[in-house]
Amino acid sequence: MALLLSGIMIVLLLLGFPMLVPLLAATVVGLLAYFPDVSPEVVIQQMIGGVKPSALIAVPMFILAAEIMTSGQTSNRLLSLVESFVGHLRGGLAVTSAVACTLFGAISGSTQATVVAIGKPLRPRMIESGYPDKFATALIINASDIALLIPPSIGMIVYGVVSGTSIGELFIAGIGPGLLILILFCAYSVMATYKFKVDPAPKSSWAERGKAFKDAAMPLGFPAIIIGGIYAGFFSPTEAAAVSVLYAIILECFFFRSLSLKDLPRIALSTGLVTAVVFILVGAGAAFSWVISFAELPTQIINDTLGLSADSGYWTVALTIAAAFFIGCMFVDPIVVILILTPIFHPLALAVGMDPVLTGVLVTLQVAIGSATPPFGCDIFTAIAVFQKSYREVIAGTPPFVFILLAVSFLLIAFPQIALFLRDLAF
């Protein structure tokens, strides 16, 4: 049964079917083959149930806030701020890219939005000042992963809903590993720059830095609203998301005057389409999960196929989870991987005593890494489309970054406090 269903999924997926088809086809086949007495109406019931949890409403709200800010000036102001402080140092533009990706991650929850918002303006400038193309491209794709760990994070929202883990706690716990990756990427960038002939950017005066800081002060209010608001108990993550939408509108339409209110319906349409395309997968994933749980496949996969149980020990289970999510995301969209694999592995993680928040951060980190890893990580395809480069050129520089990310995964498993200390401090 497990073989049949995964066979259907893999074949349809590789043939290039829209991703909802492999999910729905496997669901329908599983239902008809094993539960012929159950009406397929249940598939629809599960799909609707899958998209309905009110915590998921945070997803379109964070997408809308990010789209408003990308259409306006927010991302450019953040870029100028970071550059005015570190641009003149060795590897300055590389460090600027990494830091800007992290900062943008703090206002948007998706890696792909970050590739577009930061990569588009910065990559040509890095290449102009002497960085090799493959280094610049790989840095941007991989640094965008940090956006998935730094709150808000769409991956964490979906994981939180599926596993019943507090989204607020997940958000806070993602900050530690996100910053650790940022530091390691900056260190690697500075070291790598010794090999390249790079023209350093001119050093900014303190007056220029002051101006850049003033320009970026209001965009920097986003992390304060999101993290501060949730942590202080003012809002739920969904409400924090809606308040960031309001904040984005006030900034871009009234302070920066880069957008007019008339632009909002157009931006909302694009948000609606992106939301629907993701949510139909969330619904289909929920239906699929329901069928495999009904057939008791998760227990079979865990106990018989993988030979794991509550006695397997922390390291075995943590490494298996890491490997499963990482490999899954090398092929499929992260949301789909989280939806399908979380119900399979979550009970096992609980059984060996893993903190659900730690599991969530580990899962988010793995799907972030997988999305930027060949052969089919979806960020690679975003980069191909955005930068107009071939597949081979885009992946050429990724190995050192993937290596650093995998090292961070090991560190996270060995020292869970990297993620949990902020959570323990806050909650």
């Binding site: 829209p18 991703m19 009110s54 379109p60 609606g272 949510f279 489309a385 597949y391 081979r392």
Partner: protein, 169 residues
């Protein structure tokens, strides 16, 4: 049809944002919550998901993994596209049928939403509607591909030749 779909998607997102913000304001400043806000938002998300399914199909925007597809020669790619469109159309049409019967089942049970007492069947009708229209979109795309030498992702959306995905390998 496209206009209606665009209106629902764009309006739905803006109404959810407005309701959620209004709820935070009422609770913080006036000490009461808008109980219907969350319920309406959930309805709108269901509506956006299924209307967007059909709109996404008509714009050729559903997420696909095209790494292998892009490497195929034009003739094979066209044949595969026709197969994908017919198969997808059939599957979605099949589900649309059960979605309709599900909304009828819910209707017979007379289930209403907890706060607004709105009959859930009206909300759930968006599922057969969206699935049915999406099925139609894929059928149209299949016919278009059959009658043309170019490849179309959707009836009005040709697979762009300048699309960089897969070029240059």
């Amino acid at each position: 049809m496209t206009f209606v779909e665009e209106f629902v998607l764009s309006g739905g997102i803006l109404v959810i944002a407005a309701l959620t913000i209004a709820n935070v304001f009422c609770r913080t400043f006036f000490g009461f919550s808008l109980a219907f806000a969350e319920e309406v938002s959930q309805f709108l998300i269901v509506l956006i998901t299924f209307v967007g399914l059909s709109y996404g199909a008509s714009q050729g925007r559903h997420i696909r993994m095209t790494a292998i597809y892009d490497e195929l020669p034009q003739s094979l790619k066209r044949g595969l596209t026709i197969f994908i469109c017919f198969f997808t159309s059939a599957l979605l049409g099949y589900l649309a049928w059960f979605a309709f019967s599900y909304s009828q089942t819910v209707g017979t049970l007379g289930t209403v939403s907890p706060v607004l007492q709105l009959p859930l069947r009206w909300v759930y009708l968006s599922a057969p509607l969206g699935l049915g229209l999406a099925s139609l979109q894929y059928l149209l795309a299949a016919i278009k591909n059959l009658s043309s030498h170019e490849i179309y992702l959707a009836y009005d959306v040709p697979l762009r030749r300048e699309d960089p995905v897969g070029d240059g390998i």
